[in-house]
Assembly symmetry: C2
Homo-oligomer: 227 residues x 2
DNA sequence: TAATGTGAACTTCTTCACAGCC
DNA sequence: GGCTGTGAAGAAGTTCACATTA
């Protein structure tokens, strides 16, 4: 028998596991008992072999000839991904992007809760009602206290480029370990802090390149990076 | 002498070239004449070797002992990336996310112009003033006409999950080739159409996984996917 | 001396192909 | 027959190390 207890899961696999979890939830809603790697692959935009490889990383749930047990696998993925309870997130910046993010229903659906937003502009300091309750907006001086109170480890940074680095420094001091960054700047962070950048302009630029059809055969579209 | 005319540039290299272009623009603003791969690497969050490898993909501009000519390289990257003129983009969905995107100054700065937005809800049909002018919002039935008028090849999809696929079908019929998709659904598109997905909840989920510090040594943070 | 360009080594990720189980 | 798990092969991407040139 082979143990692969607590193996570190590869970076891109984690992302795909979330995709599978989403698909499994839909399947469970529809009452499916089992699912094949083939079906899961189709629903997630990857190959069946990839699904099987990924799923063996988290345990051996599949049964040849049958497939994977939908509910059981879903529950297990939730454990692995740490999605079992609501995870608190703070939002930096309550400008237009920030407010759009507060209204985004996807966070709650995937198990995240925007517990607080912060803005340096006093005009933005008001509670902000959303579909899922209300996100209170605070002035920056409350930052440390509230991060501690909620024990938030994740933050979304949606502030102007100029203030991004200083905001991030404060977040890290206050205990934040992961940052989803929308500012078009390269953040300097110490070892052990994870940053995911979302740069919309660069996404478009890349799209544009692979979309140009000037010279035939020159730039065939590649696979999208994130399925 | 070695020609590598019109070689297809790898997927992730394109993304980094945009990063370099951004850094070069700043350097040029500050009056720098030349720049080393080392400096460019530091400004972009990658290794110097990577910068050199990437830059040889687009031509041999570097001079040993000196570095790369800032302005010339910038101009060349613009040509390669097709950033020389303003590229029209249409936006599907004028809800909260859509409106936040209209207000995002980064698009214009990187050479994109949101020429029109569309929404099925009549209440959203009004012109939308932004920092860079006004984005007109139209009802869906104007879609084809306006895409043709502007010859738009790129679209941003910020509509609810239910309508995403049908909107995309229409876009493709109207001539759109590249789609930046914010809806949490797997879009089915024919060969030759490029889709980049931005799924904020999955980004957070991945962050969360690599941020958890329960079992020591278990999940060391990997490098961020997109520098 | 400073810095590029690049083959080779290495790592990471994906696909193939098939043995084995239901 | 249908489907999983996996070793091996392959592809893509990154880093090393050094010859070479300004």
């Amino acid at each position: 028998m082979k143990f692969q207890l607590e193996q570190r899961i590869p970076y891109r696999t984690v992302y795909r596991l979330s995709l599978y979890a989403r698909a499994l939830r839909r399947l469970d809603d529809r009452g499916a008992q089992t699912v094949s790697s083939q079906t899961l692959a189709l629903a997630s935009g990857v190959k069946a072999e990839q699904v099987r490889k990924d799923l063996t990383q988290v345990g051996h749930f599949g049964r040849p000839g049958l497939g994977y047990p939908v509910r059981q696998l879903y529950a297990h993925l939730q454990t692995v991904l740490g999605t079992t309870r609501l995870r608190p997130v703070v939002l930096m910046g309550a400008g237009r992007l920030g407010r759009a993010l507060m209204a985004y229903p996807g966070f709650n659906k995937e198990g995240f809760e925007l517990v607080a937003a912060f803005d340096s502009d006093p005009r933005q300091i008001t509670n902000h009602p959303t579909d899922n309750g209300t996100v209170p907006v605070y002035p920056l001086n409350k930052l440390e206290r509230i991060i501690k109170r909620h024990n938030a480890r994740l933050a979304i940074v949606a502030v102007p480029a100029e203030s991004a680095q200083s905001v991030v420094n404060r977040l890290i001091k206050a205990g934040v370990r992961g940052i989803l960054n929308f500012s078009p700047v390269l953040l300097q962070v110490p070892e052990g802090i994870t940053v995911n950048n979302v740069n919309l302009a660069l996404e478009l630029e890349q799209l544009h390149y692979f979309t140009e059809d000037s010279e035939p055969g020159k730039k065939a579209a590649s696979k999208p990076q994130r399925p």
